[in-house]
């Protein structure tokens, strides 16, 4: 979960562009990642990330601190990306997603991880991309953005039970994707 200091937020609210640039630097990977996982296109994700930050910049005076800043930011981001996804109304390819994972994997590669485990992890990450949108969004918010069940339920205006059910079905679907490889 993104943690932004209240002092930084306050400076941004006073119109301090340099502070906002710092805020962007601290959150851009998370927000870009969220956009990419919903829209599945680097071009769309970059455009959407720009648009989300512009909305945040303009809406900063209205942020009253009732929720965490990260939650507020994600809420704007998720709503914007889902609206954009509805506009696009197409299944976007994941071809460039594999490239992105490759570059990220290269940075995080732990020599202690066996080749089989790495291969299996990549296959699972690719399987996440093939999940239905609502399950993929839950996986992104829970595992990558590290939001709690309650935070996800609040952000998406869903019952807690529904969030847990979606995540469990996503986990079961991913577990099922392992079996053909293991046979």
């Amino acid at each position: 979960m993104i943690e932004i200091s209240p002092e930084l937020v306050a400076r941004c609210q006073r119109g301090d562009a340099r502070s906002f640039a710092q805020l962007v630097a601290e959150t851009q990977n998370d927000l870009y990642n969220l956009s990419y996982n919903i829209l599945h296109s680097h071009e769309e994700a970059e455009d959407m990330a720009q648009e989300i930050y512009m909305r945040v910049w303009r809406a900063l005076p209205t942020f009253r601190g009732d929720s965490k800043f990260g939650t507020w930011l994600y809420r704007i981001g998720v709503n914007a990306c889902l609206n954009r996804r509805r506009q696009l109304r197409t299944q976007l390819y994941i071809a460039d997603g594999d490239d992105a994972l490759e570059s990220q994997i290269a940075a995080d590669d732990d020599p202690a991880t066996s080749a089989l485990a790495s291969e299996r992890n990549r296959a699972l990450w690719a399987a996440v991309d093939r999940l239905p949108e609502k399950y993929r969004l839950m996986i992104t918010l829970f595992y990558q953005q590290q939001l709690s069940y309650d935070e996800i339920a609040s952000m998406l205006s869903l019952p807690l039970g529904t969030v847990k059910a979606h995540l469990n079905r996503a986990r079961q679907a991913l577990a099922a994707s392992l079996r053909p490889r293991q046979e």
Partner: protein
């Protein structure tokens, strides 16, 4: 409990880190005897481990620079355009002013006629005489008083309500407007001095 029902619970059990709480005791008992569920549990553990290391995709390095350029351009554009007082302030303020003007023009004539006109009227006396010359017919004095009273009260209430909603953004707008007016007046004054 059926195997299918346990499988639904199993994903949550593995995701929660296989806690020792009694809620999951029937599930743990089932896992001891069910090979299919043991296989599923093993797969779910693999899934959980992989998802815990699900990598973040790095944002393009140009994202922040382009964003800040756009913000600066927008800020520059905003500084160049005039921004009036918020409409929920100037509308009731203008309405209140109009009500006051109508009230002054509707004052009964005898209020002006009763006062003796000085031989050398000062500026206030001249103003009163001028108003007197403009006054509206006061045959329906009560009507006008009521009408203007209602008008002024409504406008005054609107102004009070808008001022209670005054925000930091409104303050900035007023400051921007003041700065813009001051710059314009200074500019015009300089132009006038240069012309002479």
């Amino acid at each position: 409990m059926s195997c299918e029902r346990f499988r639904e619970q199993l994903a949550q059990y593995i995701a929660d880190g296989e806690p020792a709480c009694s809620d999951y005791e029937p599930l743990r008992q089932h896992l001891v005897h069910c090979a299919r569920c043991q296989t599923l549990a093993k797969d779910l553990r693999i899934v959980e481990t992989a998802l815990a290391s699900y990598p973040l995709i790095v944002a393009p390095p140009t994202l922040r620079a382009e964003l800040m350029r756009t913000i600066m351009q927008e800020r520059q554009a905003l500084q160049e355009e005039w921004r009036l007082l918020p409409w929920d302030v100037w509308v009731p303020a203008v309405a209140f002013g109009l009500a006051l003007l109508i009230a002054l023009l509707s004052l009964p004539a005898q209020l002006w006629q009763a006062a003796p006109v000085p031989e050398s009227p000062d500026i206030w006396a001249k103003f009163g005489l001028w108003l007197n010359s403009l006054r509206l017919p006061n045959g329906d004095g009560l009507f006008w008083v009521t009408w203007v009273g209602v008008f002024a009260t409504t406008a005054g209430l609107g102004l009070c309500l808008s001022l209670t909603n005054w925000t930091h953004d409104h303050t900035r707008q007023v400051e921007d407007l003041e700065a813009r007016v001051a710059d314009t007046v200074t500019h015009l004054w300089d132009q006038t001095r240069r012309a002479h």
